[in-house]
């Protein structure tokens, strides 16, 4: 961030020699200027969709490892379905749905509703639980 906007740092140091009110004004002006000019707010990481730590526990609890390989989930070494190690980098889910967080959540909750006949069963995962699972999978390195 700093590297991108060196002039911001300079003006900041100038502002700091004045009174606190001036400093506040300068800062707010400065920040808004920097924001609009140089760094649009980055999109939220897909992993922010839920609680990854809880998702990790849920992936083990629902025994997703009976079919999938999932890094660092106990006993998840199966080849029945695809490995989920690189899910965050995949373009498609189940070979046909664009890999978007909410799509993944819908898929985990009820795969049969999206792709009737797929071998993956609905496991009774609630949408919130699916969000946590998605957070863990998207957060994988």
């Amino acid at each position: 961030m700093r590297k991108l906007i060196p002039h911001c740092r300079i003006s900041l140091s100038l502002a700091s020699s004045r009174g606190p009110r001036l400093l506040g004004c300068a800062l707010s002006l400065l920040l808004s200027a920097c924001d609009s000019a140089h760094s649009p707010p980055p999109p939220a990481s897909p992993a922010a969709i839920g609680n990854a730590e809880r998702g990790h526990r849920l992936l083990a609890q629902f025994q997703c490892g009976a079919c999938h390989q999932i890094p660092d989930v106990p006993a998840a070494r199966s080849y029945v379905g695809p490995s989920l190690a690189n899910l965050g980098r995949q373009s498609y889910i189940a070979g046909q749905f664009a890999n978007q967080p909410e799509t993944l959540v819908r898929w985990i909750v009820d795969p049969q509703a999206m792709l009737p006949g797929t071998a993956m069963p609905a496991m009774g995962v609630s949408p919130d639980q699916a969000r946590d699972m998605a957070a863990y999978l998207y957060g994988l390195p």
Binding site: Q61, F62, Q63, C64, G65, A66, C67, A75, R77, S78, Y79, V80, G81, G117, T118, A119, P121, M123
Partner: protein
């Protein structure tokens, strides 16, 4: 759905396990006290290396090498003999008798139907009434295994061609995990079983249900599953009473849907785990005798899964 059930000799749930628990703690504490004593002596010896009276080796040799072990081991022998006398003696004179036959790598469990006198064949899960002594007839079909449910009793080997009796009692309802305690091959580690202790009423109701033949499925999917089960020749190894009775190579599946686990403790029983297991059991339990279903389309897999899960 809770985590795995407790398998611990430090949390005894029956009288025999309690005796073993006492003995274990006596040995652990005794050995620690002796070790600490030795270390203190060593420290003292190192400190007085330069000055003080000369060490008299004979006294230490006779005292520490003969008298101390003699006293300690004699006392230990007397105490453990006394305590072991209270361990349950195997007796087949109990109302509930269960035959457990170890196989590579699962457990066949047989009850006698109190109504008809016929065998009820089950697998990988033993149920017993709380507070009642139960007789277990332990044997093996192939190699040497060992029956060990740490919360209930000590180990008893299971040898091919021999029958070892064992009487166990669990005081409280609960679920206790056990596992093979004699290395028996590739999947020795995933040869577990669960002992479910219930109130006598629950136990009797459970046994009465297990004695029944498989229910005829009501749903269309499960019905399709039953046909696929036969068409895929699953019953070459698995019996489902009322559908195909003969096979004994693999676990009897008449009431598989009512079990806690699949694959002898490998996966908790759920539709997803069941489907994954059928599609490729080797992915979860490499080396298991059951082959992977190479040519099952997903609809057939779902149908067979639905059929097996409703076999309660």
């Amino acid at each position: 759905m809770s985590a795995d059930f407790r398998q611990s000799a430090l949390h005894p749930a029956g009288p025999d396990a309690a005796i073993i628990h006492n003995l274990s703690w006596l040995l652990i504490i005794g050995a620690t006290v002796i070790l600490l004593g030795m270390m203190v002596l060593l420290a003292l010896a190192l400190r007085r290396k330069k000055s003080g009276a000369p060490v008299r080796p004979l006294r230490w040799l006779v005292g520490g090498g003969v008298v101390l072990p003699l006293v300690v081991l004699t006392a230990l022998l007397a105490w453990s003999t006394l305590r072991s006398a209270h361990l349950t003696r195997p007796s087949s004179q109990h109302a509930v008798k269960i035959a457990v036959t170890a196989k590579m790598w699962w457990w066949e469990v047989r009850y006698t139907d109190p109504a008809s006198g016929r065998d009820i064949v089950l697998a990988n899960e033993i149920r017993m009434p709380a507070g009642q002594s139960v007789y277990l007839g332990l044997s093996s079909d192939d190699v040497i295994h060992s029956f060990w449910v740490p919360a209930l009793a000590g180990k008893v080997d299971m040898l091919p061609g021999r029958l070892h009796g064992m009487t166990v009692r669990a005081d409280q309802p609960g679920i206790y995990r056990g596992q093979c305690a004699e290395y028996c091959g590739e999947q020795h580690a995933r040869m577990a079983l669960h002992v479910v202790v219930q109130t006598p009423e629950e136990f009797n109701a459970w046994l009465a249900n297990q004695s029944k033949a498989a229910v005829t499925p009501t749903g269309a999917l499960a019905l399709r599953g039953r046909d696929a089960f036969v068409a895929q020749r699953c019953m070459a190894c698995h019996a489902v009473r009322g559908v195909a009775d003969e096979a004994t190579l693999g676990p009897d599946l008449t009431h598989v849907g009512s079990r806690l686990y699949l694959g002898a403790g490998t996966l908790r029983n759920s539709p997803g785990a069941m489907a994954g297991w059928i599609a490729d059991p080797h992915a979860s339990k490499p080396g298991v005798r059951m082959p992977a279903a190479g040519d099952l389309d997903s609809a057939t897999l779902a149908a067979i899964t639905a059929y097996l899960e409703q076999l309660q």
